[in-house]
């Protein structure tokens, strides 16, 4: 009996997910799993997923039928790094949200990018703290009303991709879930690279942002597409999509092992 293509990678018995109707998390899962399917992975045996705390951190744990480590808020990256150093043969993927990775976990994100740690990081950016009830995030646009900026956000949001690219990551890119194919191809490209690969996906939070705007989520997704400008067209739109960095420097893990071999004289 044929079923949705993604289902072979999921714990079907736990569906439907606990995500809100229209949440971008499910679409991000589709893009990621389609990329893996097209790369020839029939299952997730070679992967370990590490996530933090937040709605998107629930993506791998418990929904992916794979090894997953669900860590503390903001700390997915150091756990993933320790694990990758101990087991370099495994594909270690971090999936977490903007509150987790770009706020409390920002220190770890930047240093992992600086080290060019061999991790693939998917940051699902819904521009808010969804799980805890809609508080301001460092990625919330100016003027936005959130539960902690009830009179409008007065802080400029982060351009996380630019920060990660500046720190030295091999790959830093942003897409929205309205750019399904570009996102999928970007994931496939990142899977073939070494070093630190960071992909940010702008995604709707239906319960807090889309609801406040009083829009159907499909309209919001169309708006994401309309507001996006590709980075290499020289413009900076409301949402700049595209690749901020695409390098091929040596990754941290191989440098660590080279260092050890050099010390041991082999």
């Amino acid at each position: 009996m044929r079923d949705h293509f993604a289902v072979k990678y999921l714990r079907v018995e736990l569906l439907p997910t606990s995500f809100c109707p229209g949440c971008g998390n499910g679409t991000v899962m589709n893009a990621f799993l389609k990329a893996l399917e097209e790369l020839g992975y029939e299952n997730l045996k070679e992967f370990v997923f590490v996530s933090g705390i937040g709605c998107s951190s629930w993506i791998p744990n418990p929904y992916f039928k794979a090894d997953s480590i669900h860590t503390l808020h903001g700390r997915a990256i150091p756990v993933a790094l320790g694990l990758k150093l101990a087991r370099p043969e495994l594909n270690v993927v971090v999936i977490a949200g903007d509150g987790d990775l770009a706020s409390i976990g920002l220190e770890h994100l930047i240093h992992a990018a600086r080290r060019n740690a061999d991790l693939l990081v998917l940051m699902v950016n819904n521009m808010i703290y969804g799980m805890t009830g809609g508080q301001q995030a460092p990625t919330t646009p100016i003027g936005f009303e959130t539960s902690t900026t009830p009179y409008g956000n007065i802080e400029k949001p982060f351009d996380t991709c630019a920060v990660v690219a500046a720190a030295g990551a091999n790959y830093s890119a942003r897409w929205t879930i309205a750019h399904f194919h570009r996102l999928k191809e970007s994931i496939k490209k990142a899977m073939g690279k070494r070093g630190f690969r960071f992909i940010e996906v702008v995604s709707p939070c239906t319960s807090h942002i889309v609801r406040k705007l009083k829009l159907p989520v499909s309209t919001y997704i169309r708006q994401l597409r309309e507001k996006s400008i590709l980075i290499n067209t020289g413009g900076r739109g409301e949402i700049t999509i595209g690749e901020y960095a695409d390098r091929d420097e040596e990754g941290f893990v191989s440098r660590v092992y080279e260092y050890i071999n050099r010390v041991r004289g082999c």
Binding site: D3, F5, T17, C20, P21, G22, T27, M29, N30, P216
Partner: protein
């Protein structure tokens, strides 16, 4: 060779978000007037003409909509 595409809906998984209704290029989906066992007004297939673009399957956040290809 004729390729025929059949959109399928897993009613229990659907949360009625309406994304498939919006992205389908031939407007083959419509939200039902009766809820599923979880209280969501699920999507239903009306009519024919599915092009097999699979935008619904890719965009569906709940793995509820998918295309089955019958090779004739």
């Amino acid at each position: 060779m004729n390729r025929e595409f059949k959109p399928c809906v897993n009613i229990d998984r659907c949360k009625g978000c309406g994304i498939c209704v919006d992205v389908c290029p031939v407007k083959i989906f419509k939200i039902s007037t009766i809820p599923n066992s979880r209280g969501y007004y699920y999507t239903t297939v009306i009519g024919s003409g599915c092009t097999g673009c699979r935008l619904c399957e890719y965009m569906c956040p709940d793995f509820a909509v998918y295309i089955v290809e019958d090779k004739l």
